[in-house]
């Protein structure tokens, strides 16, 4: 089953938020989550394990984002297998196999747009370049 969520969480500091995400990923059987504005650079491996309470989870973090902080892409190992990733300016490209049927090769791009058109144009061009390669 393909089930992916995207959420601009506005900071992952509060425990209620983490509880909510945990519920989504486990109760609703979400395979992958694209989260924007996690706003806590200390949100490392420890926190991820604490938050999700499972080894079944893997993730890619992107801290290169200007001003408002970070995006993180989390997935269940039983749903997705990562083959490579690339952190661009304001976006993460996650490539791998979605574990359904004989497996489907997918590329997921988690993007946190900027408020500035000039910056967005750079982001858009970079994504188009990624898509072409």
């Amino acid at each position: 089953m393909m089930k992916i969520t995207s959420l601009n969480v506005r900071g992952l500091g509060g425990s209620n938020k983490r509880r909510y995400l945990k519920e989504l990923i486990f109760k609703e059987q979400v395979g992958m989550m694209c989260i924007q504005e996690t706003k806590c650079s200390e949100f490392g491996k420890e926190n991820c394990f604490n938050m999700l309470g499972s080894n079944e989870i893997d993730w890619v973090k992107n801290e290169t984002i200007n001003n408002a902080g970070e995006i993180i892409t989390i997935w269940r190992r039983s749903c997705f297998h990562l083959s490579s990733f690339f952190n661009g300016n304001n976006f993460s490209v996650i490539e791998g196999e979605w574990k359904v049927g004989d497996g489907v090769r997918v590329t997921i791009v988690n993007v946190y747009s900027s408020r500035s058109l000039k910056e967005n144009k750079v982001i858009w061009d970079e994504i188009i370049a990624c898509r072409a390669s």
């Binding site: 992916i4 969520t5 995207s6 909510y20 858009w124 188009i128």
Partner: protein, 183 residues
Amino acid sequence: MVSGSDYSREIRGFNEFIEKAELLDIPMIGRKFTWYKPNGMTKSRIDRVLVSKEWLEVWPNSKQFIYSRSVSDHCVLVIKDSCPDWGPKPFRSLDIWQKDSRFRDFVRCKWLSYEVHDRGLFVFKEKLKKLKSDLKVWNREVFGDVKQAGEILKNKIQELDARDDVGDLDEEGRLEMRSLLTE
């Protein structure tokens, strides 16, 4: 502060990006907007999911479900491949069956012949399922193709009507028409 012309430039830029990247929008279910200002004066479709043509070949019913806001002022977007579900199909019967004496016997005989062992309701559901497909076959054997028969009747009536319109319907034709209409 974003002025009007900046805003339209932004939209144009974004649309150009979507086109160049060959991405497609997928249907939104649940809500039209994904972000609301606390005062409710501003709302926007600021979060969105775009997919490629190839993605839709694998998951043709991809939709983005917009959940109610809870932990953030942005909504959660859930992307799923969801087929339209019309719910369980109803069990239908034709009036013509009830008038046929063989119908009751057929149902009784078939119902008793099914062997399903499980919880009561499950047994009932399974038997109904089997009966449905058996009745389909029985209907075709006994009554033939009802739809086709109806089509033939309709065509005959139309033909007679056309003859009547040009004043070419004799007494025999009128009798035929009367019997066709009662059918």
